[in-house]
Subunit: 328 residues, 2 copies
DNA sequence: ACAAGCTTTCGAAACGTTTCAATTTAATCT
DNA sequence: AGATTAAATTGAAACGTTTCGAAAGCTTGT
């Protein structure tokens, strides 16, 4: 493999000269620099990443850790991340799985973005203590080397529940997420508060795990509740909403948007292709990624970081209908 | 940052002893090895990846390159890849975008898996010529350092068209993929052959680009064709099929599975949540990934590699109905 | 013609490992 | 006890860069 050394001897200069030339230092005269660069091209020189990393103690790489590769909004999130990082000459690397955690202490990246339940809080704190820069997207952590971009879960969940209530629905079911999920806890808390503000509202919480299966499973209880009249269901994410709709359609005669009114959260791509289209809470995943990248770069470069938050809006599909029509 | 050197002085031994001990060499007596390891733990030692890469000229990393992060079957594919790689102590790293191509010549990985249209064939051949090991998933390349895991596109497309024909449909539309896509070319070729084998079949090819928009766009022409009677449509991937269904449902009175019969390809997750469920061609994405990983590891380790192929099957949804019923 | 001050180039150390060859230590045999 | 051999440890070079400080090569001004 051709190294800086080969270029040096081909050009009849020292390796330091080559290094300076290739890195565009102004210590080198323009002509020699050009000559060296063209020789490097001819020889097909490519710098050795490992050597550079070792010496410079920086990688120009950012790692993003995901629980798995199948999340429905990862595409957009990663797009936002990558664009922002590339603008600043960083490359993005996606990792998943416990095994890959070690890349952080091994200094494989200049910083990492975490959206990965397989990291315990203490583990992350440990890395931060040793000086690693982190941005967490799935929890809140108070540490000088950690920042977060928060989703406005409270606003989103409130929007969802109030939307159901405003349609005249007072029997509300909320299908929850795993206890370990920060987002789920925040959303459910907001659900309770929103329900409590309306005296006639009757809220029932159902367990869930953020996957289709648990939405499907919640269907049985929801069908029971629906026997007493129309019910509004807020699934704490779209996947569960889809599972629920699947159940209602295949296992019951209940009509979505009439007997059962469903709201999801996340506005995943599937949501708008459902029949009826799913009413859901939307937020910009690209912006989420871009802000995370921006924060991480600021930390790496030692610039001050300000707290960021992603705003939400309600998207109306047909999975929630006007209750008043029925009343007439 | 604590290095092997710190451990050496803390333990009162040389750095080579530490290195041997940490790597489990049998040159070191068990007691000292244990002692050194416990000191390393105490100090919180983590090996420096860059240094090891530089010296050993191997990274224990495999890079997978994707055109973007939003493909619908990447989740399963990457799962298969990762499992297989982890079993052999390799880590998987996902990259996307032209910028990241350079990681290959920079020797950031021991090998790479390519499913990324942003690589030109010549570029890949160039890397292979310089000794980089590659497995390509989106093309065929003849080179000692390149292998591929082929999808059985011919069988899949044949299955799809014959399924439509066997329902009594003889007006067939095929919505194609981008000319640059190897899979699209193979599938379309098989479509033509399958249609030619049946004298009464009338095939019409429509342009497409493997995205929802082009399925939607194809809808107009398909609606025209459907005026003369039921039509069978094979969309060369599920995304286009979904776009098409969206058009038919929102812009026409045509009934899917009655007036227009739709088959997709890939069996993406969305397909089974469509209403009606999409009839499509399925294959194991996990196995695809696992075989790709296996092939790459064989190349890296210098073991012989055999050509592999992924088999397909037809999944029946309700987007294709029995034409005979109508006739009755 | 020569010191002073630039500009351009070079030598060498360093980053943190691994690993070969050499050395020291311990064990075994006569 | 001394020689031989085996086992455990060490020294040093190497991997391919970057970068500091020094050296060499030019200009200028006197």
């Amino acid at each position: 493999m051709v190294s800086i050394k080969d270029i040096a001897s081909a050009a009849g200069v020292s390796i330091s000269t080559v290094s300076y030339a290739l890195n565009g230092s102004d210590r080198i005269t323009k002509e020699t620099a050009d000559r060296i660069r063209s020789i490097a091209d001819e020889l097909g020189y490519v710098p050795n990443r490992a050597a550079r990393m070792l010496k410079k103690r920086e990688t120009m790489l950012v790692g993003v850790f995901l629980t798995d590769f199948s999340g429905h909004f990862y595409g957009d999130l990663l797009y936002g991340l990558k664009e922002e990082l590339n603008r600043r000459d960083y490359d993005l690397i996606v990792c998943s799985g416990r095994r890959s955690h070690r890349m952080i202490p091994e200094r494989a990246f200049d910083g990492a973005i975490i959206l990965d339940a397989t990291f315990a809080d203490e583990e992350l704190i440990g890395y931060a203590d040793r000086g690693h820069k982190l941005v967490v997207l799935d929890r809140e952590l108070d540490h000088p080397n950690v920042n977060q971009v928060l989703l406005d879960n409270k606003a989103g969940a409130t929007l969802a529940v109030e939307h159901l209530l405003s349609q005249g629905l007072c029997r509300i079911c909320a299908v929850g997420g795993p206890e370990s999920a920060f987002d789920a806890r925040q959303r459910m808390r907001a659900v309770r508060q929103a329900a409590e503000r309306v005296p006639e509202a009757r809220l029932e919480e159902l367990p869930g795990a953020f996957d289709k299966a648990s939405g499907y499973a919640a269907g049985a209880r929801i069908a029971e509740v629906a026997r007493e009249g129309p019910v509004g269901v807020f699934c704490l994410n779209d996947e569960m909403a889809i599972g629920l709709c699947d159940y209602l359609r295949t296992q019951t005669p209940l009509r979505i948007g009439r007997d059962v009114h469903v709201v999801g959260y996340d506005n995943i791509e599937l949501a708008q292709y459902m029949q009826p289209r799913l009413t859901t809470i939307d937020y910009s995943k690209r912006k989420w990624g871009a802000l995370a990248a921006e924060q991480l770069l600021k930390m790496i470069e030692g610039r001050p970081v300000e707290q960021e938050r992603i705003y939400v809006r309600l998207i109306e599909g047909e999975s929630v209908g006007q209750l008043k029509e029925d009343a007439k």
